[in-house]
Every structure is written in structure tokens, then in C-alpha cells.
């Protein structure tokens, strides 16, 4: 088994990368993860494993990543700063590297008030940008926070998230630049439905010259129904779903809505492929992993590159 990041190799080789997402189960059964792995095998370059997303307790991201790695996939370990202080985060970075996990996505995390443990103490000892910087320093300088040396540095392709649809808009590119300066090698964005706003944002990033300094992957999520679109628009902070998209989903018969959601997703990917500065897509098919292969195929992104 080659022990380097496939995602990194695709991007450094100039390819248009494809990543997907795998939500771990609310239980201890490894087969759930392995089943999702089979759906995504050879369809994508790497698979993000979410870290107790929406603050719902699930199988740990590190464990699920390790299962994917054993199954021969390239996992992207999502880590949020909500639940672990700097001691635990750095320790888990070392452990994840030891398990052969080669990509990490450093996130703040959904606030715990949304999940099933609203009484929890939110940690937030580091923020996501500081966490990127910590991982970069561990990898490149072999040092933890405070300067102590590591007997062996961790080996990671470091990622961060960006949301072009949150406010204040003009500050979004400044924050992206900070993440890249902190050490992000790649960026995955929030789901894109408003392509005009997205293109304005990436244009500002190009003007600052930062699209050459990290690989930016555009995020997409296939919609299952107009109800899902409305829910995301109204209830999920930082989501921007234009009314045309909702109308389009409403304009087809109920039994065709999922297909229409896939159509929108495929069209979005095709448009993103032509946007200068975009180096790949990240497909977040929420509890709908079986559709990823079809989306990738219809977007003309198969077969995926193979490395020895």
C-alpha cells in the first residue's frame, strides 16, 4: 500500500481532483463505513470523514478514517476544535499519522448547541486557523506548540474550509488568505448553489494571488427535494440557495426531483471546471453516498487517476 496522499498526488500532478464525504454511523459497526467505502471506491480520489458533524455523537473520525485506509481508500480526516483542547488535538494528529492517514481538514466545527449534547462544554481552545498552523509546524518543523520537538513529525496534506457565502463578504477572502498563510495546502468550500457569488469570491482570491498558493476545491451537494433546498436556505447558517434553484426543484414531478438535484449538481461541477483557480470538487452527498459515482461519471470525471 502506497503511504502518501492520493489527493495530494492528483493535485500536484495538475489533475482536477474529486473528493466525497462519508458520515460515520451513530454506532460502533465498522461495516457501515466499509459499505460506504465500496460505493466511493474508484469514483473519487479521497474521502472526507466528518467529525461529529452538527455536533451529533458518531463513530470517531480517526477510527472511520483508519477503516477506510485499511480498505484501500485515501481518507481526509476532518477535525474540529470544538471538542478537543490543544493537547488532544496534537496527540490525535500524531496518532492519525501513525495510522497512515495522510490528509487532515482543520475546522471550527458546528456549535454544540445544534447537536444532541447541547449541555456540553465547548472547548474552542484553538481556532481553525491556529490549528492549521499547529499542524503545519508539527509537520514542517517537527515541533509542537511551545517548541518541544517530535521524535518523528506527522505527515499530512493539510486542508481548511472556506465559506464564500457567509458574511461579511469582503472579509471572506482575507480569511481565506489567512488560512493559506497559516499552512493550508488545500481548501474545500461550502456547498455552491450561487455560482455568481462564488465567482466573485474566487475572482477576489485570484486578485490577491492566493489561488496559486493552495488547491481550492469547490463544494457541491446534490439536492434531494425542494424541501431540502428550503431547509438549507432558511435553517442552515452560511448557506446561499438562490430562488431559481428552489423553483427548478419544485418545477419537476416528485419522482423526478432527485434526478433534478443530480442534474443541478452535475451542471455546477461542469461550470466549476471552467473557473480559473478551481482545482477540483468536493461532493457532499449527505447520507446519499450511492449517488456520488453517477455524479462523477456524468460530470465526465471518470476514470480517476491510478497511482502505483
Amino acid at each position: 500500500m502506497n503511504n502518501s496522499s492520493k489527493l495530494k498526488r492528483v493535485l500536484e500532478g495538475g489533475g482536477f481532483a474529486v473528493t466525497a464525504e462519508c458520515g460515520p454511523p451513530k454506532g460502533a459497526n465498522p461495516d457501515v463505513v466499509l459499505k460506504k467505502a465500496e460505493m466511493l471506491r474508484n469514483k473519487v480520489d479521497a474521502v472526507n470523514v466528518t467529525d461529529n458533524q452538527t455536533a451529533i455523537v458518531r463513530m470517531s473520525s480517526i477510527a472511520a478514517c483508519s477503516l477506510l485506509k485499511t480498505a484501500g481508500l485515501d481518507p481526509v480526516l476532518q477535525m474540529v476544535v470544538r471538542d478537543r483542547n490543544r493537547i488532544a488535538l496534537q496527540s490525535d494528529i500524531l496518532g492519525a499519522s501513525a495510522l497512515g492517514i495522510r490528509n487532515v481538514l482543520c475546522l471550527s466545527g458546528d456549535h454544540h448547541i445544534f447537536g444532541n449534547q447541547p449541555q456540553a462544554m465547548g472547548v474552542f481552545d484553538l481556532d481553525s486557523i491556529q490549528f492549521v498552523q499547529v499542524v503545519r509546524t508539527m509537520r514542517d518543523e517537527g515541533k509542537i506548540l511551545g517548541g518541544d520537538g517530535l521524535s518523528q513529525p506527522p505527515d499530512f496534506f493539510i486542508g481548511a474550509a472556506a465559506n464564500p457565502f457567509a458574511d461579511p463578504f469582503d472579509f471572506r477572502v482575507i480569511r481565506l488568505a489567512k488560512k493559506i498563510r497559516a499552512g493550508a495546502d488545500f481548501i474545500q468550500t461550502q456547498c455552491i448553489y450561487n455560482l455568481d457569488r462564488f465567482e466573485r469570491w474566487i475572482g477576489m482570491a485570484r486578485d490577491r494571488g492566493i489561488t496559486d498558493k493552495a488547491y481550492i476545491l469547490g463544494g457541491v451537494t446534490p439536492l434531494k427535494s425542494p424541501g431540502m433546498a428550503k431547509y438549507m436556505k432558511n435553517k442552515v447558517s452560511g448557506m446561499d440557495i438562490p430562488d431559481e434553484i428552489i423553483k427548478r426543484m419544485e418545477g419537476v414531478p416528485k419522482d423526478k426531483q432527485r434526478e433534478e438535484g443530480i442534474n443541478i449538481c452535475v451542471e455546477t461541477i461542469q461550470r466549476l471546471r471552467g473557473v480559473p483557480g478551481i482545482k477540483g470538487v468536493h461532493i457532499m452527498a449527505i447520507e446519499w453516498e450511492e449517488v456520488v459515482g453517477e455524479i462523477v461519471e456524468r460530470a465526465g470525471l471518470l476514470p480517476r487517476p491510478v497511482f502505483d
Binding site: 471550527s108 458546528d110 448547541i113 491556529q130 457567509a166 458574511d167 447558517s237 452560511g238
Partner: protein, 222 residues
Amino acid sequence: MITGEQKPIDEIREMIAPYKRILVLGCASCVAECAAGGEKETAMLASTLRIAAKMKGEDVLIEEKTLDRQCVRDFVVLLDDIIERYDAVLSLGCGAGVQAVAEIFPEVPIIPAINTGFLGETRDQGYWVESCLGCGDCMLYHFGGICPLARCSKQLLNGPCGGSMDGRCEINPDVECAWHMIVDRLTKFGALDRLENIYPPKDWSRKQGGGPRKIVREDQQK
């Protein structure tokens, strides 16, 4: 100021149930400003408890007194002459006030009547907001006078997160996004470039590095 809110009356009644002679003790400082434990609220609580006791036919003595400051020894010792009359004190002071009285009168049970809240400001009549964590290393200069540790739900030093919409926090549209305010203020001062810096991880040892914090000033001691 330290804010607080009175506990539910049933909870208070349950805590004082074993006692027969109770001093309801107010504090005329912070908790008076936030209308939780000043002279007026102390009188009202004592009166409510007396009525409740009377209705249940309980034979209980409930009296009240309000100190200028419950958290300052010089004021607490004023209870020296009267404390013996009571077998419990129901304090409307903040957590610091309750403990200061307990420290000085170790033989008397001190019962808290309010839930201490936060370090905050009176924004309007009947409206108090949290604005300081007491972190021990003030960073307000960097952030245009708005503390992201106290006012950002995720305590980001390099915000705003991806949940900021229309100046509102993702956790609740009633909550202002501290980072949106920081960006606006620094833009107004022409100092937005300050936020190009990556602020390093907070040194929490100034807050929780050595157990409960204290300040010792020899120049202030006799």
C-alpha cells in the same frame, strides 16, 4: 458588573427548609444594578418567603438586611453583632459574595439565592449582556474594543466563522456576530489590516494556570 438572576422560589424554599431563623442578605452592588439582589429585591424575596411560610403554617423567622458589598470583608464583618440570631443566611450576593460571607462566618450555613451569571454591561433598562471573560490578558486593543473570547460563540481569535450571516451568529439570530462587529469597527478606524495577522493561540494560563487566581499588592497592604 457581575450579573445574576434569582433562583426559582421553589428551589430556594427547598434549600432553606431545614432552618427556622433565616437572614435574607442582599448586596447593594452589582446584583442591585441588575435587579437581582439589591435592597428592593431582598425585601421582596424575604416577604415572599414569609408569606409562603405563613400559608404553610411553618413557624419560621425570616429577616432581611442588605450590605453595601458582600464580597468585601470590611462590610461583611458588620454582621458580627447579629449573625448569632440566625441558623442560616440566604444570600442574594453573587458567588463571590456568598463565599466571602461563608469564609467569615464558617459556623453558619450560607445558601445562594441567585444564579451568578457573567461579567457584563447594562445595555438598556432590564437588558444585560456578557462582555468580558476575565481572561487576565486583555486583547480588546486588537479587536476594536469588542472581545471575541466573550462575545463570539466559538471564541475565535481569527474569525468570523462560516456561520456569520447578516451580522448574526449561527447559533441564534438574536445573537450578534462579534466578528462582524469587529470587522466593521476596524474598517471604520482604517485598521482592518490588523486582522491580516494570525493571532496565536490564547495563553489560558493567565486564567486557569494555577487554580483560583489572586492579586497580591504589597503597596496596598498595611
